[in-house]
Every structure is written in C-alpha cells, then in structure tokens.
Symmetry: C2
Subunit: 154 residues, 2 copies
C-alpha cells in the first residue's frame, strides 16, 4: 500500500506559512533554544506539527511582555516536571500591575478626549489619574512587544 501518512514533517517554509513566523525568526528561535527541529533532510530542518503549538505559546508569551529568555525558562518548566509556580505567580502579579497601569493610562486618554479644561494639567480628574499612576508605582521593565500573532490553526 501507498504511504498514507497525512501529518508529515514540516519544512521551515511550511512552519512559517502556518504560524506566520518568518523563517529567519524560526532559525533564531532555534538558536535561542525555544524550538528544535526533529531532524534534517540534508541541510534542511524538519519540524513536527507540535512546533506550531509551541510557537503559539511563544507568541502569547511575547505578547504578554516576556523576554525570549524568560519564555525559554518557562518552557523548561513546561516540560512537565514541577512547574515553577513561584515564577509563574510572580509573572502573573507583574501582569496585574501592568494591567492596572495600562488601565489608568487608558482612562486618562479617554478623559483627555472628553475633558474641556483649558489644559489637561488644570483638570483635577487628570491630575488625580496622574497621581494614581505615580503611586501605583509602575515597576516592570520588560518590553511588552505586542506583535501580530495569528491563530496557529492554519
């Protein structure tokens, strides 16, 4: 009988196409230890479909502002043996703080649009928002690089 396998290994272009992640980035991620091909055909990398899910996870992590190093560390944890709950919880808390700051900022912007005070600095509401932000003491220092990130479904 013919070979009927339906889910063959993917070549880098196919992974790029399905994930939306450029081939150059896939090579870079491999170099950084975030993904790994299951083998090679000649020089060419072969990936299995699982890489797509992994890329989705990476995209989500990036979207949330984690560095590639941090994501790699989480993956080590993801491997299954005892997740680093402390680390993950710390990250979640960090996100909470970021979300609060962003919310303040968003409200400030919406207010600025609606406010009729001659200058925003003269508007008590705006000043209150500023103060809230300042005292919320924004703390993170991680770049939250929101990148377009398409469904992994393909």
């Amino acid at each position: 009988m013919r070979d009927e396998r339906v889910a063959p290994d993917l070549d880098i272009a196919e992974v790029a196409r399905r994930s939306g992640v450029p081939a150059s980035t896939l090579r870079y991620y491999e170099e950084r230890g975030l993904i790994a091909p299951i083998g090679r055909r000649g020089l060419r990398r072969l990936f299995d479909a699982g890489v797509l899910e992994r890329l989705a996870l990476i995209g989500l992590g990036r979207a949330a502002g984690f560095s590639l190093d941090e994501i790699a560390r989480m993956f080590a944890a993801d491997g299954r043996p005892a997740i680093d709950r402390v680390l993950l919880t710390a990250k979640a808390d960090e996100l909470d703080r970021t979300i609060r700051t962003l919310t303040v900022m968003r409200d400030g912007l919406r207010h600025a649009v609606a406010c009729t005070a001659p200058s925003h600095m003269e508007c008590p509401t705006f000043r209150r928002i500023l103060r809230a932000a300042a005292s919320g003491d924004v703390d993170g220092r991680k770049p939250v690089a929101l990148r377009p990130f398409r469904s992994v479904a393909g």
Copy 2:
C-alpha cells in the same frame, strides 16, 4: 529686601534628583523635543519646575507603551489647541486591546499554576485560553516598556 524667590529654576541635576530621570536621559529627551530648558546659565541648562510634571506625563506614556515620538506628538496636542481626539481615542482603543491580551495571559499563568493536567497543552482550559488569545488577535506592535517611575512630588 533680599531675593526671596522660593521656586528658582532647577539645574539638570536637581531635575534628575526630583524626577528620578538621569541627566543623560533629560538631555536625550531635550534632543528629541520632549522637554526644553527655559534657558541656560553659561552652558548649563535651567529648567523650570513645570518640567517635572511633563516628565511625569512622559513616564506615564512610556509606561503605557508609547514611543517617544508618539508622546511628543501628544504633547503638541497638549499645548492646548484642539487635541487630536482621534489619535487619543485610537490610543485608548489600542490600550484596551493590549489590556485584554494581558488579562488572558495573566489568567493563563494563574491557571497554569493551579492546573494539574500532566501537560498544559492537554488541559482544555489552557487550550481555550490560547485560542482566545489567538482570536483576540493581538495587534499592537509597540513595546510597552514599563520602567520604574517615581512620584514627581519630590
């Protein structure tokens, strides 16, 4: 009578001290058009106290992920004549999307901490979260650099 002015101009070191922003950064911000000294004493820049508020605003903007260019543009609007409401609203919407993504991520992390499935990918809740994130179609591409940002009060 003696000169009793109590709010004299600030030299760059004083602005740095009160705002927490390094002098090198203040020069850089000036170069980028975000702030301006009111004059010089010899070579030395003199700032008036208003710069502290402006720096607080800049910090807030940076915390929310705006680039220095974007912040500069908002300030032009801040000058008072007809705020660019369209721009501001767009920014607010952008923040809304970012906040949603971050919220998904945070929930995902908290779930990962609590979940007992052998691997996160086998957990339906986690997969649902991933899908939600993917379909929320994270869109921004601005780095949200959360930097420590202290109260401007001094």
